[in-house]
Every structure is written in C-alpha cells, then in structure tokens.
C-alpha cells in the first residue's frame, strides 16, 4: 500500500473524538501556502491528511505495526545517510550511530516479516527529505559545514528517538491481546535506550524533564516534547505521593514517559516524507 494513502487513513483520534485536530491547528496558520508552511511549521503540525475522516487502519494491530514500520523506515534511512555523510566524528558518535543503525535495520526487517507473516503487505518505504525543504542540512549536502551538520544530526536523532518511544507507547493499547504486543514492547525499550544515549551524547540527561526539548534543540522539535510534563498517572497526581526530591515536578515528569497519539506521531514523521 502506498505510504501517503496509509498516512491519510491514519486518523484514530479523528475517529475517536470526531474532530479534525490537525486541520484545525493548521488552519490557524492561515493563508500560508502549503509549501511555505511545511518549512515553517513545527514538527507535528505539518498538514498531511486530505481526508478528515477515513476508514482507519490504526486502531488495530496491523495499523499500529504499519505506523511503527513507517517510523523505522525513517530512522533506518536517517542513520544510514548519517553514517555515509562523513559528518560524524569518529569514536563515540560513530560507534553509537552504527549500533543504532543496526537496530533500526533489524526493526524494519522484523516488522516487515511480521506483517507478511500475518498475511499483510507492509507499507512501502517512503521517500524522505531530512532537510525538510532546506530547513536542515544534517548530511552537509548543501555546505552548511561539518559542525552545524553534526549538531543537526544529533538534534534530529534525539527527536526521532524520543518520538519513537512515544509513538510505540501510544500504540500499545492497539496491540493489547495481540501476539505483536510483546515484540512491540521489546522494540519500544530499545528505542528508549537509543534515546537516552543520544541525549547524553548531546550533554542532556537521558530522560525528559517537564516538556523541555533540551539545550540546542530547534524550536521546531517542540511537538516531540509537548505533553511530557504530565504528572497525573492513573488519575493520581504523583507529586502528591510524598515530599522532597522524588516528588518534585521535575522528577515526577521524568519518571514517566508519555505516549503520542497515532495522529501526532504521523504528523511528525510526515514532515520528513516527500511521497
């Protein structure tokens, strides 16, 4: 199935609440042309869906896996290109990217095999644009220079990994009762290990405090972190469960990662998808 068709149909939240949230949000940007808007809008606000309501594939295990595969395609190609770019310093950065690249490739293969094993055709690999229409130059293809390109490589990796963690988490409920739940959780925790290491490579903590995107992260990545400040778990405000360090706002937000809806994860990924 065509990736755009799949993404167009990926509208769980719209089905649930009957609203077209992305279109509403996007419309606030008014008369910006679509092309200009893509370059200007933050992660997560890109206008993707042509159809506000469509037959959804997302609220079932197959839809969840197809979304996961799409995100893995994105990560896999990103790390491949990063390793080929010559931008990465040797030593720890290159070692880290090689290890992550190996896992993302394995995840792509695993998910494709899982879908095929279930008699489902995996979504096709999209064409990606990691410059987002020229906003970034992470592979130094356009001559931004190694230092800036490397900073962008790290920032994008952080955004992709933190998004991946949130996206898998958001799909867990759709996999409840499915044989794919455990493998999805097993990928989810690997993405979290990756995220922690990339963040630490950037001089940040391995975990997310409040909704802070962290030092040096482009403002455009804020959508990846919005909602991470949540401190109410299972109806309980966890800051009220005790005093001192463990129950501060900071620690209470760090101690729990938050999910992304399929819509929000799709919107973030779509920013990097040409077709």
């Amino acid at each position: 199935m065509n990736i755009i068709k799949f993404l167009d149909e990926f509208t769980t939240d719209n089905l649930i609440d009957g609203k077209t949230s992305r279109r509403d949000v996007f419309s606030k940007f008014g008369a910006l042309s679509k092309k200009a808007a893509i370059a200007a809008v933050p992660f997560g606000l890109a206008s993707v869906p042509k159809k506000a309501l469509a037959q959804s594939m997302s609220a079932d295990p197959v839809g969840a896996l197809q979304l996961a595969l799409t995100l893995e395609y994105l990560e896999d190609e990103f790390y491949d290109l990063a390793l080929q770019s010559g931008v990465l310093p040797s030593g720890r950065p290159e070692i880290v990217y090689m290890q992550i690249s190996k896992h993302e490739q394995a995840h792509v293969d695993f998910l494709r095999a899982g879908l095929e094993g279930a008699g489902v055709t995996p979504v096709e690999k999209p064409t990606f644009d990691f410059t987002v229409g020229g906003m970034f130059d992470p592979f130094n293809d356009n001559g931004v220079g190694q230092e800036t390109a490397y900073a962008q490589l790290l920032a994008l990796a952080q955004a992709f990994e933190d998004t991946g963690v949130r996206a898998y988490k958001g799909q867990a409920g759709n996999l409840l009762g499915s044989d794919f739940l455990t493998p999805a959780l097993q990928i989810h925790s690997v993405e979290a290990r990756h995220a922690s290491e990339i963040r630490r490579l950037r001089g940040l903590k391995g975990w997310i405090t409040n909704n802070d995107r962290g030092m040096g992260m482009p403002e455009a990545t804020q959508a990846v972190y919005d909602g991470e400040e949540n401190i109410v778990q299972g109806g309980v405000d966890v800051t009220t469960l005790g005093s001192d360090g463990p129950f501060t706002m900071e620690a209470s937000s760090e101690a729990y990662d938050e999910p992304l809806s399929g819509d929000d994860a799709t919107a973030i990924a779509s920013l990097f998808i040409v077709n």
């Binding site: 290890q99 690997v190 778990q233």
Partner: protein, 245 residues
C-alpha cells in the same frame, strides 16, 4: 550465608533461565548477582516446592498480580538507590552523582505510585497490597563504583525485561499504558548506567542484551525474573507468585 529468599512456584521455571543468567552475569565483577542459585533447586521433574505456609503473601493473579509484581521490583530498585545516594562511593563524578540521584528520585516515585494504585484498586481488601519488603545486600560493597554500577545495570536491565514480559499479562489498557510509561524510563536508566560503565562503546544498547538479528530487547515472565531476583538474596521478605506465569 543462608538467607530467606522469595519462594516462587514456577510452572515453566527452566525456560529461558540459562539465557537470563547469561545476560545478567556479564560484567558483574564481585557482585555475584543472580549466579548464586543452585541448579539443583530447579531441575525439571523435581517435586514441586512445598506449599507456602500460612501468612506468606501471594502477589495475586491478573492485573492485581502484575501490579504487585511491579511494586515488588520498584521497592527493590528504590531501596537500592536509597542506599547508594545515602553514601555515595568515594570520588564519584558529578555526572554519576546526578544520574544516581535521578534514578533514586524516579524509582521512589514509581514505588509510591504502585502503592497508591494498588491500594486504590483493592478498596477495602487492603490485605491484597504487597507489604513493604525488607532488604539485605549481603556483601555488596556500596563503596565500590564497579559493584554499584554493575548492580544498577542488572537491576535496570531486569526491570526492562520484567515490564516487557508483563505487558501481555495486563488486561486493562490503562495499566498497560502506565507500564509502558515506566518501562521506557527504566530503559533510559539502563542505557545511561551501561554508558557510564563503558562510555565509548555500543553497550548502552549492547549486543549482550539486544538480539542482533531482530533488534529486540529482553522480555521475561515473572517466574523467571523472580527466580533470578530471589537468588540474589536481596529481598528477605518472603512472598509467592503462584498465580503468575
């Protein structure tokens, strides 16, 4: 030294045990975690363990059993890091002090969350809430950077494997989501601890723990996890998990 350990009645107790020992025994110089367990206790075909006596807590079944199970593991992690931050090993770096302080904060928060969540779930049946456990780390040297980091690594990797394996046992999607919110933080911890142990390496997500062919992390059943945790002797309060796989 003989200690009381968790008694777990395991239907499939030998399955994957070897794999777990392999993963947990690596890099644990001196700590001796998870390797003290005699194989004699686990021979397949051996008569079942004697029934637990009166007054020994059982974690329970279904979502309650999983919540109590998670509560037990979070109690262990929280207690361990409490001891770490109360007497940091000598010459600890600022980064390591920050990491251990954060891990202490997160695990204490998790522990209190589970206590509150289970208490809310059982209503007036408060006897179904796992009691506060007691711990004894034996000869573990909290003054040793290697032993503290090595133990933290095993605890965090074990936490990840435990939550990954428990997901399928959860019926309520709200509990599944909360488990998902916590397991990724445990995985972030595991990565950071592994990176502190071996910074210029792929160990944060190393081939010793992530399957190279599939890119999958470890997932294990409660019986496997509790057998390994029990073998450490760290938890001295007896309880059973007779109604979890």
């Amino acid at each position: 030294m003989s200690k009381k350990v968790i008694k777990v009645d395991m239907a499939n107790r030998t399955r994957n045990r070897r794999r777990f020992l392999k993963l947990s025994g690596l890099g644990l110089a001196g700590a001796g975690l998870f390797v003290a367990c005699s194989d004699d206790d686990y021979n397949e075909g051996m008569s079942p363990m004697p029934p637990t006596g009166e007054g020994i807590f059982d974690l329970g079944s279904g979502d309650l059993g999983v919540l109590n199970y998670a509560y037990a593991l979070e109690q262990l992690e929280a207690d361990f890091y409490t001891k770490v931050v109360n007497s940091f090993y000598a010459n600890i770096s600022d980064v390591e002090r920050q990491v251990f302080t954060d891990l202490y904060n997160h695990e204490v928060n998790h522990r209190e969350f589970f206590k509150a969540a289970i208490t809310a779930a059982v209503g007036s049946n408060t006897e179904l809430v796992l009691p506060e456990l007691e711990f004894d780390y034996g000869s573990l040297n909290f003054g040793s950077r290697d032993e503290v980091l090595g133990t933290a690594r095993v605890l965090e990797d074990t936490g990840v494997a435990a939550y990954n394996g428990a997901g399928r046992l959860i019926s309520d999607p709200n509990y599944l989501l909360i488990a998902g919110k916590i397991v990724s933080v445990e995985a972030r911890h595991a990565s950071a601890i592994r990176s502190l142990i071996n910074p210029e390496s792929a160990d944060f997500s190393g081939d010793d723990i992530i399957d190279v062919a599939t890119g999958l992390d470890v997932a294990m059943d409660p019986s496997e996890i509790l057998a390994a945790v029990g073998a450490t002797g760290f938890i001295t309060t007896q309880f059973t998990a007779n109604n979890l796989p």
